[in-house]
Symmetry: C2
Subunit: 226 residues, 2 copies
Amino acid sequence: MARLSAAETEVYERIRAAIGDRHLLPGQRLREVELCRIFETTRGTIRKVLARLAFDGLVDHQPNRGASVAQPTVKDAADLFIARHCIERAIAREAAKRITPASARILRSHIDKERAAEAARDRQRMIALSGEFHLLLARLSDNSVLSRYLTDLIARESLILQLYEKPDQSNCSHEEHAQIVSALLSSDPEQLDMAIKTHIDGIAASLDLEPGNQPRPSLDEVFAKL
Amino acid sequence: MARLSAAETEVYERIRAAIGDRHLLPGQRLREVELCRIFETTRGTIRKVLARLAFDGLVDHQPNRGASVAQPTVKDAADLFIARHCIERAIAREAAKRITPASARILRSHIDKERAAEAARDRQRMIALSGEFHLLLARLSDNSVLSRYLTDLIARESLILQLYEKPDQSNCSHEEHAQIVSALLSSDPEQLDMAIKTHIDGIAASLDLEPGNQPRPSLDEVFAKL
DNA sequence: TAAATTTGAATTGTTAACAATCCTGTGCCC
DNA sequence: GGGCACAGGATTGTTAACAATTCAAATTTA
């Protein structure tokens, strides 16, 4: 794997998180010198990080025109959900082979956190926790390839939700997460497939595939909040 | 997507092909200045290409220790085949939705080429054609995410086959390819799943998961043949 | 002799200056 | 006013010199 140095990883993770947490919006321009100033690093570092983010599909990088946060198309969104369904299904099947009482407890306690975040109307936290649930499943599946693909898909899904999610969506998917955990323990592949399909279809159904215009805060504004 | 310049893409593709065609063997050291000399380019170019190959999982790149062709572990191989099964299944289902008489003809004519290569005992060409068949399916599926993942998996599979394939394997999988084409046209998902599973299991079954030692030709030797 | 140390070459990593490209606004001409 | 050419600044891309690290062989030491 392409190793980034500690400093590079730091910058990479912070920008990635800023995109995942919806602080950096699709289309936001990412100028090299500006990022240098913000992260107190050199252009070489920023360049490497931007190249990797571009490879991840989170950033659009065109020769001599610089980088900006990616704006996935409707087709990209459709392709992604098909792929996600297939990956999640495989992860769930592997996870079902490996689930233990201890790991089931971890998953359930995670779902409790999701419920708490919803009760607190903390939308930011709900989104983050929802992604983390799937990454927990991925870890449980113990498959490095599937895990990597899912990480990739979840990051890009964040951009897609921002661009295309219907405005009034509640996104309270933790009950579907609970269904998945039940199905994992049921040793019934059909039930598991159904739980996964219901969940992914639910996310896809919350999309309105007409792009909208969103305001874009300046880079300083975004990173000033740490 | 991270754009590489024309010159960079050229180098990238040539190294990738050299790995795919089994000219560059697992573990082969890839020194920057040596590659500069061979491809008549600068260190900057080589560095970018190596970084990307490392990200692809084709090259192992450690800080201050340089790059070498990756040596996937047995666990890597197992993870990869599980992922590949899931991706191929999804691609086949999408391809089945889109198949036309014209595309079926293209697939069949490809299988004819595979048969010809086997008749000619051209093992090199058989391996290349076998990979291309799956990439044709990916293109037919019209899903950019699944296609990308499959491309990724096929490249890495090439390394795994080199390291772990049983020595006497005939690898004449074109009959299984023909089965897949039949299933695509049958509009029977069960039959399609079975054809995919049989094929992927067949490849996995040709592996002997005990690593062997292989001789490694010098870089000059490899690229002198163009 | 075998382990530990030193030393210098080979290799990778970084930086800073330079080059090339693109964008923006201005003035000119029709 | 609208289109066009052009300059200047802003931004990205590249290169070459320098710095840091690793590796291997030679040397020393117990």
